[in-house]
């Protein structure tokens, strides 16, 4: 998919001058500073940056969980309208998220069945017979290598971190949104589970044809999976383009630093660049 010309596809989500300023008392913190972006359908975009560079703030604005101070976000070419609950629900049918920490992503008082049934209801399956619902949930669970029969009537905290994150993907499988925003979905998980989860995400993209916005601090991982990469520093995109362009020919100093900070197994790690 990487070699295909993605830029010719229709725009899925784009933003112009998106800005977020937090005001506490008299101090103003600019978290995201006039960023522009264009995400195409079926594209896998990585947003890379250090902690505190504004990635999560941007992702929350994209999800509509935070108000935008300035600028505008276009969803499928139209200005996004999330002014009331009904419109927000409609928007969230098109965009969904996977969060960083699987342990805090689930309400510990709700059973796994509730989590999955909510997704079916959201897709308009409220009136379906129970057998059909169970069939759908079983299908979703088997997609992520989980057995629904073993999960039913269990609570999310009874699962391991990797299993919980897979359950999150099962949720996305049921919801089939246009855009999936994955906010560092693998950073809390061990390397083996990470590969499985990334594999599932890519498989899901091919099956449903959705756009994945992958937020990460790991530029190596970003290069490995994404079509295009946005590098974020202090709330601004310092560099963007296809993964090959950005990572093989970095122009911005920040990108060069990020790339040099990736530890390589066969080379001694240059700690001088890390210390900067």
């Amino acid at each position: 998919m990487r070699n295909e010309d993605i830029s010719s596809r229709p725009l899925c989500l784009s933003g112009r001058g998106v800005t977020k300023i937090f005001t506490t008392g008299k101090t103003r913190t600019v978290a995201v500073d006039h960023v522009d972006f264009e995400f195409h359908e079926g594209e896998l975009i990585s947003i890379v940056g250090e902690s505190g560079s504004g990635k999560t703030t941007l992702s929350k604005m994209l999800l509509g969980l935070l108000n935008i101070t300035e600028g505008e976000i276009l969803f499928q070419g139209q200005p996004r309208d999330i002014s009331n609950m009904h419109k927000r629900r409609e928007y969230w049918r098109g965009i969904q998220a996977i969060f960083q920490d699987p342990f805090s992503s689930f309400n510990v008082f709700n059973k796994i069945d509730t989590v999955l049934l909510d997704c079916i209801n959201m897709r308009g399956g409220k009136r379906l017979p129970m057998e059909k619902k169970i069939e759908m949930m079983t299908e979703a669970c088997s997609f992520v290598n989980l057995k629904f029969a073993e999960l039913t009537n269990k609570y999310p905290f009874e699962l391991s971190g990797g299993q919980m994150q897979r359950l999150m993907i099962a949720r996305i499988f049921l919801l089939k949104p246009k855009i999936l925003l994955a906010d560092e979905p693998t950073s809390m998980i061990d390397a083996c589970s990470r590969a499985t989860i990334l594999d599932m995400l890519l498989q899901l993209r091919d099956e449903v044809g959705m756009t994945i916005i992958f937020i990460t601090h790991d530029i190596g991982l970003a290069y490995y999976i994404s079509d295009s990469v946005y590098i974020m520093e202090h709330g601004k995109f310092v560099e963007s383009g296809s993964a090959d362009d950005v990572i093989l020919n970095p122009k911005a100093a920040y990108t060069k630093r990020l790339i040099s900070d990736v530890p390589k197994i066969y080379e001694p790690w240059d700690l001088n660049t890390v210390a900067q």
Binding site: K60, L63, L65, R89, R93, F99, F106, F109, D118, C119
Partner: protein, 416 residues
């Protein structure tokens, strides 16, 4: 949920507190069944009857008697007649008459009486003794002589036809009646209060009213506190500013002053137990609001709340399923403390005479108020106020103990 309950009941402190509270509640339910009737019924005409069993003197005269010859009966009788001040006067007289008192204790009735009978003579005139004092000693001597002499007591009656005094019965010194055979006896474990009411019965009833006042006050305070805290914390922004402004105003005014002012302006007639409870609740929600708000603020940006929003859940549903369960343990603990402080607030208010109106129901505070107004603490009638204090302390202690136990279960860093 089941697991949490098991954990809670494994906490020693919670179980201890729960047992004390359950005992008080059980007493409140069982005692009125054993001793039914109006708790404010005035059974005594005098004030502050001592705790103990009272036997009808009238009925004992007609009760069948048994004869017992007990060796120490006379001594006990004399010891009862001789009051402490009489003993002091006797020793004073004997000292003035220069009688050797070495080795005689004042409480040793037998030796003291022997010395008295051997030495006393009403013809002896001691120096510096007034006529009144001399007469007192004569009277004392006579009563002592009579007590040891008379073996029978004659009960007389007046014949209604002839107006003549007729002998009804003779009571021997050796006559005893079984308390169980007497038609009328009354046991008052805590005596009577200033209005001649059974204190224990009143206390049990007052305990129920006070716990009810505490519960209503706690419910009102927790409801308002929870509602405002949830709204301020979850909505944030202008709603938060407005609610916190009101909360801060209530925080800086001491709630007890507010309570006194509201109670006073309501007037005596308007203050029923429920009204007072609601007023207490209305002045004590502040801390619940503040702490619920801070908890909600830390919860509202958690990922599970975001996920719930993304699932299209309504504001109400998010608050009910994603926020409330997480702070439920905290709210229960705050509620227990509110109940306990509600009971204390009622006691304080009533002690000042601003509690519920005094004619309908007893409350723990009102009982203290009555005891104080009739100087129970000055005339030594401890039974009128001490059991009340103990009950208030018991309820308060048990609730705080339960709260500490819950705190340790829900907040693992406090476990020892």
């Amino acid at each position: 949920m089941k697991n949490t309950l098991r954990q809670v009941f494994h906490s020693g402190k919670f179980v201890a507190g729960f047992c004390i509270f359950a005992f008080i509640l059980l007493m409140m339910i069982i005692y009125p069944l054993i001793n039914p009737g109006n708790p404010l019924e005035r059974i005594g005409v005098g004030t502050f009857a001592k705790p103990g069993t009272y036997v009808s003197l009238y009925d004992t005269v007609d009760t069948e008697t048994e004869t017992f010859k007990l060796a120490d009966a006379d001594d006990k009788r004399l010891a009862k007649i001789l009051s402490d001040s009489d003993r002091v006067s006797m020793v004073e007289w004997l000292t003035q008459a220069e009688v050797d008192l070495t080795g005689v204790s004042m409480n040793d009735t037998e030796k003291l009486l022997d010395l008295w009978h051997a030495n006393y003579d009403d013809s002896i005139r001691l120096k510096g003794m007034t006529k009144a004092q001399r007469n007192y000693y004569v009277r004392l001597n006579n009563s002592l002589n009579n007590a040891s002499k008379a073996d029978t007591l004659t009960v007389t009656d007046v014949d209604p036809d002839t107006n003549e005094v007729v002998e009804k019965t003779k009571i021997q010194k050796t006559d005893y009646v079984n308390v169980g055979d007497v038609a009328n006896t009354k046991t008052l474990p805590l005596g009577t209060d200033n209005f001649g009411r059974d204190v224990l019965k009143e206390l049990v009833s007052a305990c129920g009213t006070s716990i009810m006042i505490g519960l209503i006050a706690g419910l009102v305070a927790t409801f308002i506190g929870l509602l405002l805290g949830l709204l301020a914390g979850y909505l944030g922004g202008v709603a938060d500013d407005i609610i916190m402004f009101i909360t801060n105003i209530f925080t800086v005014i001491p709630s007890f002053v507010l309570l006194i002012l509201i109670s006073y302006s309501l007037g005596q007639d308007q203050r029923g137990a429920t009204t007072v409870a609601i007023v207490i609740g209305l002045t004590s929600w502040v801390w619940t609001t503040r702490s619920v708000r801070s908890q909600v603020i830390s919860l509202r940006n958690r990922d599970h709340v975001n996920l719930s929003k993304l699932s299209g859940h309504s504001l109400m549903r998010i608050i009910m399923t994603d926020i409330l369960p997480y702070i439920a343990s905290y709210v229960v603990m705050a509620f227990i403390l509110q109940v306990s402080s509600g009971i204390l607030a009622e006691a304080q208010l009533s002690l000042l005479g601003l509690g519920p109106k005094t004619t309908e129901v007893p409350t723990l505070g009102l009982m203290m108020n009555w005891a104080m107004l009739y100087s129970a603490h000055l005339n030594g009638s401890w039974w009128a106020y001490f059991p009340v204090i103990l009950t208030i302390a018991g309820i308060s202690f048990s609730m705080n103990l339960m709260n500490t136990g819950l705190d340790q279960v829900f907040n693992p860093t406090l476990r020892d």
